[in-house]
């Protein structure tokens, strides 16, 4: 019970800034509750055994000659199996709600992405060759990300903008196509609960919908050389008007300005 309370009431995570984050945090709370209950249970059993069954001074006899107990062993094979099965099914459900299984479930139907954005709040991450959906999804904002030692560059094809800082409007799905110029990097925004490696020679994609205005760190999470720790950028989530102002100020292609 204590474990359940801790699992539900102790928050170890940063703020939620993408549509995907609340779903993630739901999974986290479930895993944290189960984990805390199991851990406190085993810790309690070990400490209790060490105190209750410790050898008192003068005792020379052995313990009970208990070599096993089949029903008991079946019981504690079944319990972890059920727990693990539950976690597996539950995390599959979470993954599906995040949109991670979209290419598997829908096959070639990715052209209908915009129709399913209500249920699939996040387009998932993965290898670009598997998913070309973002090009045809009307609503999403396409951005091309280039990683290099030791910086990220964000290219907006719509206005031909190249920026070192990622600007995105709140509420609009973003589709990023990422590739590296040199070694493997990773794009990570802790407040979005999302991460995807940026690989040389193999474009990857990352889709998300920002929900909370603010400035969040973009962190490289794959060892990429001496200045790996300093390879950071910022994602600015702003309301659509501010984003449009920024966009108009920087867009090179005049016709795209609105």
């Amino acid at each position: 019970m204590g474990g359940l309370w801790i699992g539900q009431n102790v928050n170890l995570l940063p703020i939620e800034a993408s549509a995907n984050a609340p779903v993630y945090d739901e999974l986290f709370r479930v895993l944290f509750s189960i984990g805390t209950i199991l851990f406190i249970g085993i810790l309690g059993l070990v400490i209790y055994s060490l105190i209750r069954f410790r050898r008192k001074p003068g005792q020379l006899s052995d313990g009970i000659a208990l070599e096993g107990n089949l029903p008991l062993e079946i019981f504690w094979t079944a319990v972890p199996a059920v727990v693990v099965l539950f976690i597996g099914i539950y995390s599959y459900d979470i993954y599906d709600r995040m949109g991670g299984m979209t290419p598997l479930a829908h096959g070639d139907m990715h052209t209908h992405n915009s129709a399913t954005t209500e249920s699939k709040i996040w387009g998932g991450i993965g290898n670009a060759s598997e998913k070309t959906g973002y090009e045809s999804s009307i609503a999403s904002l396409p951005i091309e990300v280039t990683a290099m030692q030791f910086a990220f560059l964000f290219h907006y094809p719509e206005g031909d903008i190249i920026s070192g800082e990622l600007h995105v409007p709140v509420g609009r799905p973003v589709s990023m196509r990422m590739e590296s110029n040199d070694v493997i990097h990773a794009f990570w925004v802790p407040e979005f609960r999302l991460k995807q490696d940026v690989i040389p020679g193999q474009p990857t994609i990352l889709n998300f919908t920002p929900t909370k205005p603010g400035r969040y760190p973009v962190i490289c999470a794959e060892l990429c050389g001496p200045y790996h720790g300093g390879m950071r950028s910022t994602v600015v989530v702003e309301d659509p008007n501010e984003y449009q102002t920024w966009f108009n100020k920087n867009a090179k292609d005049e016709t795209l300005k609105t």
Partner: protein, 555 residues
């Protein structure tokens, strides 16, 4: 008889130096080789610990100020490589395996004594080469994973020396694995059935299968990587059409089973230590055996859970999530069985038991975070962060290293004939347990909140928690001192232990301490029930004097 070849070996024993010089010689005695592994491994543990201290000193401040960034990357690469390949793998396998397995199967030595000595003597030169690369050319900078293209673009000399060292250490590991399989399956004393073997034999059999199946894959991969570096081939170099993800698959095909190569023997050692000190049979012998074998099989098909953010396709993520989660089932059985072994026992709360119980607690936490990490959506946030750093230190330090200390306290009287000091041992345990948890528990929070791993500089908001973690590391470093003092002083001043201070029933206790060259003066004892502790049960089935003519070898 299976021992007939030993008459030849006897000749070579006579040529060995005696006294402490034995430990610097090309000895063929499995007990000498076991202790060579242990002492050599411990020296590398001190070096790896010094490297860890350097990392924790750098991380007490958010800026990179203690050492240059290139050196920091060299230090973290060496720390990982030394701790895995020169400390944990050689000690849980080589040291205790060589010392104990021949006793447990009732043999007078390992199946291939010369191969055994070669396997050990590959380690010191490989280790010295690796460490000296730091001073001569600069060590490898690409982490112990050596992912290309980073490992291809960083300075080549250090990377090539790293590859060469790991190849030699891998070779040593394979030689050891072949030797253990042969010894356990073919050198068993006639009359001793497989299901009567002490649990550590099963753990070593499973581990050796993993070693022999997966280490050659790592060797092949690293040879291809070295071609990419020195001969400009393009196996993993995207600039030449290579594929960097293939390297990751091949690397983790070895390096995930490597985790089980580090923890399965530790599981086996705990299964030997707890029953003796609890004065109870090991709970659920056969389920313990089956769960080891289940871990071996599952351990070979989980590697891609290290690659959930590498652009792996969804079906592959789903498969590896399920396979990885299910490892929790056989592992869980083992932990419940150990707790059941404690239950109702007459537990001596000595240093060996404290470290074993510390292992249970730490490993359960590491296992729980492990199941969480196996879930793709969870992993996508915390992959390559300090959450993962905390998780695997709970497995390999809180797990394997705690067991190594437990095993040293437990078998020290067998190695030397003297007991270690219990008060110093308890101080050692308390310092290690508190220091370890203070060092690594806060790192879970760091990872969840945005600190990636392998960084020399970080967001200033994480400074306090990092300092907390470094304080824990300091405590761990200090905890080594009472242990070292205890181990060295007890060698000369320790209480005389007698042959069997713990009243153990496994065969290594049924001879003198330290044991004679060929383990027993007379015939090897036949121990059919190595865990026959318990009221009214003790010694009932122990047949010390049965000679080997009446029973036929079992297969």
């Amino acid at each position: 008889m299976s021992f007939s070849n030993l008459s030849l070996e006897k000749q070579s024993y006579k040529l060995q130096p005696s006294g402490w010089l034995r430990y610097l010689s090309f000895s063929l005695d499995h007990k000498v080789i076991g202790l060579q592994y242990l002492i050599c491994g411990f020296i590398f543990y001190l070096i790896g610990g010094a490297l860890a201290s350097a990392i924790r000193i750098e991380l007490t401040s958010p800026i990179s100020d203690f050492m240059p960034r290139e050196v920091y990357n060299q230090v973290l690469t060496l720390h990982g490589t030394v701790m895995i390949f020169l400390w944990i793998v050689p000690v849980v396998n080589g040291a205790f395996g060589n010392y104990l397995i021949p006793f447990y199967v009732g043999a007078r030595d390992m199946a291939f004594p010369r191969l055994n000595a070669v396997a050990f003597w590959l380690i010191p030169p490989a280790g010295l080469m690796l460490i000296s690369s730091y001073f001569i050319t600069g060590a490898a900078e690409s982490g112990w994973t050596a992912y290309p293209p980073l490992s291809i673009t960083t300075p080549a000399a250090g990377q090539i020396i790293w590859i060469l060292s790991v190849l030699l250490l891998g070779g040593s590991s394979i030689f050891g694995g072949i030797n253990f399989i042969a010894t356990i399956l073919k050198l068993r004393r006639p009359g001793l059935k497989l299901m009567q073997l002490p649990m550590y034999c099963w753990a070593m059999l499973g581990t050796s299968i993993l070693v022999v199946l997966s280490t050659p894959v790592l060797a092949g991969t690293l040879i291809l990587l070295s071609f990419d570096i020195i001969a400009n081939t393009g196996f993993f170099n995207p600039a030449l059409g290579g594929n960097v993800i293939v390297y990751q698959h091949l690397f983790w095909f070895y390096s995930h089973p490597a985790v089980y190569i580090m923890v399965l023997p530790a599981f086996g050692l705990v299964s030997e230590i707890l029953p003796i000190h609890c004065r109870k049979p090991l709970f659920g012998y056969s389920t313990m055996v089956y769960s080891i074998m289940a871990i071996v099989v599952l351990g070979l098909v989980v590697w891609a859970h290290h690659m959930f953010t590498s652009g792996t396709p969804p079906w592959m993520r789903l498969f590896f999530t399920i396979a990885t989660s299910f490892i929790a089932v056989p592992t869980g059985i083992k932990f419940f069985n150990w707790v059941a072994t404690l239950w109702g026992g007459k537990i001596s709360l000595n240093s060996a038991v404290l470290f074993s119980c510390g292992f249970i607690v730490n490993f359960v936490l590491g296992g729980i975070t492990g199941v969480a990490l196996a879930q793709v959506p969870f992993d996508i946030h915390v992959h390559d962060t300090y959450f993962v750093v905390a998780h695997f230190h709970y497995i390999v330090y809180g797990g394997s290293v705690f067991v190594i200390f437990s095993a040293i306290y437990h078998w020290y009287p067998k190695f030397t004939g003297r007991l270690m000091n219990e008060n110093l041992g308890r101080i050692h345990f308390l310092l290690t347990f508190i220091g370890f948890n203070l060092c690594f528990a806060p790192q879970h929070w760091l990872g969840l909140n945005g600190m990636p791993r392998r960084v020399a500089e970080y967001d200033p908001q994480f400074a306090f928690v990092n300092q907390l973690s470094s304080a824990g590391a300091l405590l761990m470093a200090v905890s080594t001192l009472p242990f070292l003092w205890n181990a060295i002083r007890s060698l000369f001043n320790g209480q005389i232990a007698g042959d069997n201070p713990w009243n153990g029933l496994t065969p290594e206790w049924l001879t003198s301490s330290p044991p004679p060259v060929e383990n027993w003066i007379g015939p090897a004892p036949l121990v059919k029930e190595p865990y026959a502790y318990g009221v009214n049960k003790k010694n009932q089935n122990l047949d010390l004097n049965e000679s080997n003519e009446s029973t036929s070898p079992n297969q």
